[in-house]
């Protein structure tokens, strides 16, 4: 499992793109995340900033269903969340 951690840490440092979806609501949150991931190569990492409530409840779950891997999730001081997602990482 330590290997998985190293891979995750390495990947997060190699963030390829950033997406802020705090200004849109469901289902646009997921649609925008999907569109942003389409621009990336498999394995590349997208950093997503999203709001509490429905977005954090649903977007990670939907990304997982599409085969993308959440490397890390964290709560920001302003109440938003940050996700690091590896494209096709599952």
């Amino acid at each position: 499992m330590a290997k998985t951690q190293d891979t995750a840490a390495l990947s997060i440092r190699q963030v390829k793109a950033f997406l802020d979806i705090t200004d849109v609501t469901c289902p646009l949150t997921f649609v925008k995340a999907q569109a942003a991931l389409e621009e990336l190569e498999a394995g590349q990492v997208l950093e997503i900033r999203l709001s509490e409530g429905e977005p954090i409840q649903n977007v990670p779950h939907s990304l997982k269903d599409e085969g993308h891997k959440i490397l890390e999730a964290s709560l920001n001081k302003d109440g938003t969340f940050t996700l690091f997602v590896a494209k096709n990482g599952l």
Binding site: M1, Q57, H61, S62, K64, I70, L71, A73
Partner: protein
């Protein structure tokens, strides 16, 4: 048709209209699912015998208004051609409603449609002291609103955390609506309080590494009302893990209602009159929740 007995007709789902001789024919539906060819037959009947439209009922049913009493036999025969039959009204088990559940919905935790069909097969039309409504919802989103029903069932997920696959990303902590999970990323520790868990399953659904395992189960709510009086059903038993046990519980609830209720008394009123603990004890006497008693939630 001569010697019309309204009670018999109501039992058979023929709802008297204000227009003399006309009835709104309620169909037996389960989980709000109707086959395409059945829709065609319903359409034919509505055009031939009714006024060319149907009414969608509040509980996922269909009624065909303006059926004249002289056409009952013909309408019943036509319905039967498509595997349809009239529904029920009056003091008995009514239409069993359900959301689409885990066969369709990404959020679903149980097969609501299959469960609703089993409930319908076992209890539909059963005569009771008053009406009794079953509703089945697949998850904590509660689209089918389990607690509005006399007996509501909600799919749940009883989670179990595995340390080895966990990457301590903390996503589960962020998505948990009950704040039952706390992750310490630096120390690589996780704490989970089951007493706070609502069995929504969001931890497992979102976990990227499969560190949240567990089993789906059933949460049973009893005593809901949403008519002349509104009251939210209560969860009187802990989460139930298997379907056989679920049906034992439901059998116990029905037996309690049959034996305890006054004629014309809804389950809620019976529970308030004799005490909720009497139902809990009745279920325990039937040994349906052996081993899980200490978790009883009221």
């Amino acid at each position: 048709m001569e010697n019309l007995d309204i009670n018999t007709l109501k039992k058979g789902g023929f709802m008297r209209q204000i227009q003399k001789g006309c009835f709104s024919v309620r169909l037996r539906t389960v989980a709000g699912e109707i086959k395409a060819e059945q829709l065609l037959k319903i359409s034919e009947i509505a055009q031939e015998f009714g006024h060319g439209y149907i009414h969608l009922t509040a509980r996922q049913g269909i009624e065909i208004p303006f059926i004249h009493q002289n056409d009952f036999a013909a309408v019943k025969r036509k319905l039967a051609e498509a595997g349809l039959e009239p529904g029920v009204c009056g003091p008995r088990v009514r239409t069993v409603t359900a959301c689409q559940g885990d066969a369709i919905c990404p959020s679903g935790l149980i097969d609501t449609t299959a469960l609703a069909k089993e409930l319908d097969a076992r209890y539909f039309g059963l005569d009771l002291p008053h009406k009794l409504k079953f509703g089945v919802t697949g998850c904590a989103h509660n689209c089918l609103k389990a607690e509005e029903n006399d007996v509501g069932i909600r799919g749940g997920f009883r989670p179990c955390w595995l340390e080895e696959p966990c990457s301590f990303c903390s996503l589960c902590e962020q998505v948990c609506p009950a704040k039952a999970i706390a992750v310490d990323k630096k120390r690589r520790r996780l704490s989970f309080r089951e007493d706070a868990c609502t069995y929504c399953g969001k931890c497992a659904k979102s976990c990227p590494t499969g560190a949240w395992q567990g089993n789906s189960g059933y949460l049973v709510f009893v005593g809901g009302l949403f008519g002349n009086r509104t009251a939210i059903g209560r969860q009187v038993l802990p989460i139930i893990s298997d379907q056989d046990k679920l049906f034992q519980v439901i059998d116990s609830v029905i037996k309690f209602y049959e034996q305890t209720a006054k004629p014309g008394e809804r389950l809620r009123a019976t529970l308030e009159r004799v005490g909720w603990d009497v139902l809990q004890e009745a279920c325990q006497d039937d040994e349906v929740i052996a081993g899980d008693r200490e978790q009883a939630v009221i």
